[in-house]
C-alpha cells in the first residue's frame, strides 16, 4: 500500500525552479534514499513534502490525505515527521524538553502523559546518551548527539514516515555508522518508512533499499540501491557526463 505519493511536484523560489516535476510513490515500510549532487533539489523536495514550502505545482498525498500546500503542523499530525538538514535542535531547551515538544500533538488523546512517558523511555533506550544528559541544554551536545536527539524527537511524534535530510552532515564516519545502525534497528522495530536524503550514494549502498538519483530538480534514476550504486549509469548521471 502506498503511503506517500508525489505526482509531478514542482518547487520554485521566485524565478528559480528547484524541483521540476517529481513523481514517485513510497510503500509503507520501505526505505528510500534520495541522492544527488549539491543543488539537485533534494532538500527542496523534502521541504515541500513536509509543508515548509508550498509546491508550485503537482500533488502530494500522504496516508490517504491530499497534503499539497498544507501547514507543516497538520502534515506532522498525520504522521510524517521531518528531520531537517543541520539538525535544528532547540538549543536553549534541555534534551528532555526537546523530546517533549513533539508529544503535544497527542495531548487531546487519552492517557497521553503516560504514553509520552513510555515513548520517552523508548527513545532513551535507543539512545542511552540522551538519557544520561537529559537535563543538559541541547545546544551543548556534540553533532552526533544532536543528530540522535532530532531523530529521537521525530520518533516522539509517533510517525509513520520519517524524512531525514543529510543525517551524516558534519559527522565523523564512525558516528554516522552509529546513527545509521539505530535508524535501521528503529525501522525494523517500529515498521517505519524512511526517506533519507544524502549527497553520496555510498551510505545507500551499504544499507540497501531503494535509491533515486536526483539532479537538476529531476529524478534521473530509480532502483535498487546496491545495483544502481555500482552501475555506470549512476556515475554518469551523478556527474552529468551524459549532458554534452
Amino acid at each position: 500500500m502506498s503511503l506517500l505519493t508525489l505526482s509531478n511536484v514542482q518547487v520554485r523560489y521566485g524565478r528559480l525552479t528547484a524541483v521540476r516535476g517529481v513523481s514517485f510513490s513510497l510503500t509503507e515500510g520501505e526505505i528510500l534514499f534520495i541522492t544527488g549532487p549539491n543543488g539537485a533539489g533534494k532538500s527542496s523536495l523534502l521541504r515541500a513534502i513536509a509543508g515548509v514550502v508550498a509546491p508550485a505545482g503537482g500533488r502530494i498525498d500522504f496516508a490517504d490525505h491530499d497534503i499539497t500546500g498544507q501547514a507543516p503542523e497538520d502534515i506532522a499530525r498525520l504522521g510524517l515527521s521531518m528531520v531537517p538538514e543541520g539538525r535544528e535542535v532547540f538549543g536553549s531547551l534541555t534534551i528532555e524538553e526537546n523530546l517533549m515538544v513533539g508529544t503535544g500533538m497527542h495531548a487531546r488523546e487519552r492517557n497521553w502523559r503516560v504514553r509520552a512517558a513510555s515513548e520517552l523511555e523508548a527513545v532513551y533506550a535507543t539512545f542511552p546518551i540522551l538519557k544520561d544528559r537529559r537535563h543538559a541544554q541541547a545546544g551543548l551536545l556534540s553533532g552526533g548527539q544532536q543528530q540522535m536527539l532530532v531523530i529521537g524527537r521525530a520518533l516522539m511524534t509517533h510517525p509513520r514516515l520519517v524524512a531525514i535530510d543529510e543525517p551524516s552532515l558534519g559527522l565523523a564516519p564512525n558516528i554516522t555508522d552509529q546513527v545509521y545502525e539505530r535508524l535501521i534497528a528503529l525501522r525494523a522495530e517500529r515498521k517505519l518508512t524512511l526517506l533519507i536524503v544524502e549527497q553520496s550514494s555510498t551510505r545507500a549502498m551499504m544499507v540497501g533499499g531503494r535509491m533515486m538519483l536526483m539532479r537538476g530538480g529531476e529524478i534521473l534514476l530509480d532502483g535498487d540501491a546496491r545495483a544502481l550504486g555500482q552501475s555506470e549509469a549512476m556515475q554518469a548521471a551523478y556527474f552529468g557526463y551524459g549532458d554534452h
Binding site: A76, S92, L93, E97, N98, M100, V101, G104, M105, T157
Partner: protein, 304 residues
C-alpha cells in the same frame, strides 16, 4: 537610610513597569519577530475601558467602580482580548511579511487605537481614582513608601514567577519556547502556529493591562498618551536585554528604571528636566559595547 530606601523603592517600581512592558514586547517578538509598537496604545485602551465615553475633564467611571477582584480580571481580559483581536485582524495577514513591514503595520494599528480613543474621549487627560485604597503611604524601615509602590513591585515579582512557571512547567509554555527559538521546526513537530502566536498575544495584552492598572492608580489620570512613554522605554529595554530574550527584557527593564531614578537624584537640579536625555545616552553606551544586548536570545531563525 530612609531616603536611600525611598530611592530603591522608586527604582524598583519604575523598573517594574518597564520590565512588564518589555516582557510584553519580547514575548511577541520571540514568536513572530514583530516589534509591536501598538503595545503602548493597548495600555491606554485598557485604562479607558474603565470609563464611559465623554469629553469632560472628570471621567465618568464605568467598570472602574467594580470591586478589585472583578476589576482586575476585567481589565486583564480587555488587554488580552484587544491584543488577540489585533493579531486576528491585522498581524495574521502580515505573517510572511518582513519585520519592517510588520513593524509599520503595528505603528498604524497603534494610531488606529489612539485615534479611536481620541474620538470617544478627546485628548484632554481625565482624572480618575482607581483603587484609591492603595495610595496611602506605609512605613517601611523608617521610609514612607506608597502602598501602591510596594504592591507594584510585589505584583511584578509574582508575574515574573508565574510567567516563568508557565513557560517552564506547562506544555503550552514549552511549545512557546520551542517556537520562539525555531518556529518552523516547532511546526514540523506538530506545534500549531496560530495557537502559539495567539497565546503570546494574549499574554502580552494581559501584561499591558497590568501596566494600565498600575499606571492608572499611580498617576490618577487617564491620558491617551500614557502608554506611549512606557512603551518607548520598554522597547529600549527589550533591545538592551537582547531582542527576544525574556530574562534580558526583565533585567534591562529594571536597569533602566534604576538608571532613571538614580539620575533623578544625582543630577544637578538644573539638569533634572533633561533626565531622559541622560538615560538615552546611557542606552547608547550600552549598545556601543554590547550591540547584541545584555543577554542575546538564541534562535534568529526565520519564522516560516
Amino acid at each position: 537610610m530612609g531616603s536611600l530606601l525611598q530611592v530603591v523603592f522608586d527604582a524598583l517600581s519604575l523598573g517594574s513597569l518597564y520590565a512588564l512592558g518589555a516582557l510584553g514586547i519580547a514575548l511577541i517578538f520571540g514568536v513572530m519577530r514583530l516589534v509591536n509598537f501598538a503595545h503602548g496604545d493597548v495600555i491606554a485602551f485598557c485604562v479607558f475601558a474603565l470609563l464611559w465615553p465623554s469629553v469632560d475633564a472628570v471621567a465618568i467611571i464605568f467598570a472602574g467602580n467594580l470591586p478589585w477582584f472583578l476589576l482586575i480580571p476585567f481589565v486583564l481580559a480587555i488587554g488580552a482580548g484587544l491584543s488577540v483581536l489585533s493579531e486576528l485582524l491585522v498581524f495574521r495577514r502580515f505573517r510572511r511579511a518582513n519585520p519592517a513591514t510588520m513593524m509599520i503595520a503595528s505603528f498604524a494599528l497603534g494610531f488606529v487605537i489612539r485615534y479611536f480613543l481620541l474620538m470617544l474621549f478627546s485628548s484632554r487627560p481625565k482624572s480618575i481614582s482607581l483603587l484609591p485604597e492603595l495610595s496611602q503611604p506605609i512605613e517601611v524601615l523608617g521610609a514612607r513608601i506608597p502602598l501602591l509602590q510596594l504592591i507594584t513591585i510585589l505584583v511584578t515579582i509574582a508575574v515574573l514567577f508565574g510567567l516563568t512557571a508557565f513557560l517552564r512547567r506547562t506544555r503550552f509554555g514549552l511549545e512557546m519556547r520551542a517556537a520562539a527559538e525555531n518556529f518552523t521546526m516547532a511546526r514540523m513537530l506538530g506545534v500549531r502556529a496560530n495557537r502559539v502566536i495567539m497565546g503570546a498575544f494574549a499574554l502580552s495584552g494581559a501584561l499591558a493591562a497590568a501596566i494600565a492598572l498600575i499606571l492608572g492608580s499611580q498617576t490618577g489620570t487617564a491620558n491617551i498618551m500614557m502608554g506611549a512613554n512606557v512603551m518607548l522605554m520598554a522597547f529600549i529595554a527589550t533591545v538592551i536585554g537582547g531582542m527576544g530574550s525574556l530574562p534580558g527584557a526583565v533585567l534591562a527593564g529594571f536597569l533602566i528604571g534604576a538608571v532613571a531614578t538614580v539620575m533623578q537624584v544625582i543630577l544637578p537640579p538644573d539638569a533634572r528636566a533633561f533626565r531622559d536625555a541622560f538615560v538615552y545616552a546611557a542606552v547608547i553606551l550600552v549598545l556601543i559595547f554590547r550591540p547584541q544586548g545584555i543577554l542575546a536570545a538564541r534562535g534568529t531563525k526565520e519564522r516560516v
